[in-house]
Symmetry: C2
DNA sequence: TAGATTGTTAATCGATTAACAATC
DNA sequence: TAGATTGTTAATCGATTAACAATC
């Protein structure tokens, strides 16, 4: 009731999936409990950081014992919204769009793909992973019947803003954006997560170059 | 001579590709000069940050004038190693591997794909974007003739460590890792850039969930 | 010259790490 | 109980922002 807990910093949030990953692995290998110290060693972070991060969301541990692996894993999954059964659509059935459509692992985490859209007549009508690609023209109609939560944008950057605004007007809740263009400025009221693959590759090539020039 | 300039922080490096992107766009639309203030507004960051970031690498601007767009763009491209003509190989010709192989934009930035490897007999021998998929068994041989700089790992996580170590032993310089597993602990002397797509999606679903619960 | 804008130093803010009392 | 380990407060470190003299 009116509790005014301060927003958890995004740097903390971005570490949660990594905790989730390690905890899932521990759980699968049958480990029941783990201390922040042991987990920290495994993940190469400090135990302090783990305890601080977790305590943004509540006390999941127990003094003298540590954390129950599967309990903590479930709690983090919950924080991340993995139990909310998000529905997704893919806009752009090019190489990347098709790759994501065929990628099974997201389904396991509770993301359900319910539509694929494109404007290219060569791909509209094709079936990808059991879903028939629809023309973008039919997207209004689609939203009248279904309310997808997340749109996955795998389209060229020159049309990204236009499409994002269209989706926003239809009431999409989040956009997972693979087009090489920042969308957070273009769209209001929709959560945006940009994946800039080429940025990541450039970072790697910087690191390589630096290593080479180390003895300058 | 022995100049001991401190390492530039990785948070700064990760902003460079974004600067590069905006400057390329400005350049393409014919803009010749820009001030840190104007660029900051466009990118929704502070002018201070831009000037601090750039000055990690030298003074690219001019008082009273600002920055020459194409000069600065070229300088950042240089820092990021975009003119070094990195050669790449893809390990894992699944959906994602094929998508990246077919993605043209990397070539434009000076990354040249020279090999694709897999172990699945169904894909070995197939031609993807002009390159015949080779069997992993032939990779030693391949490295004897060619020395690729970067390996793009699009393989299941259970074989990622093994393959990464193999590549390291062959002298790869960087690994762009798409398998859902951290590799920086497993491999010495190789630069690693992890792309955890599912981490990114989970971050998005957290953001959506938070928004929904805003009025609690 | 006067105005604009940099490069850079200083101040602030936020994130990480260390320390330790509480407690299982 | 004694030992272990948390949750949490305090100290440190690093990153961001503000300010301004230098200078084009």
């Amino acid at each position: 009731m009116g509790e005014m807990k301060k927003d958890v910093s995004l740097v903390v949030i971005r570490r949660l999936p990594r905790y989730y990953r390690y905890l899932t692995e521990l759980k699968e290998s049958g480990i029941v409990r783990i201390s922040s110290k042991a987990l920290a060693e495994k993940m190469q972070v400090t135990a302090s950081q783990i305890r601080q991060d977790l305590n943004c969301f509540g006390g999941f541990g127990q003094q003298g014992y540590g954390y129950n692996v599967s309990q903590l894993q479930a709690a983090i999954g919950d924080i991340l919204g993995l139990n909310e059964n998000h529905t997704t659509i893919i806009i752009g059935a090019g190489n990347l769009g098709r790759a994501i459509a065929n990628y099974g692992s997201f389904e396991k985490r509770g993301y359900r793909l319910i539509g694929i859209f494109d404007i290219n007549p060569d791909v509209v009508g094709k079936v990808i992973n059991g879903i028939t690609v629809s023309h973008m023209d039919t997207i209004d109609e689609f939203f009248q019947k279904q309310k997808p939560d997340i749109a996955i944008l795998t389209i060229p950057k020159n049309v990204a803003v236009e499409v994002a605004q269209k989706l926003a007007s239809l009431g999409i809740r989040g956009i997972w954006n693979f087009s090489n263009m920042d969308l957070h400025m273009a769209v209001e009221g929709v959560e945006i997560e940009n994946v800039h693959l080429s940025d990541s590759l450039m970072t790697l090539s910087y690191k390589i170059g630096k290593r080479k020039g180390e003895n300058k």
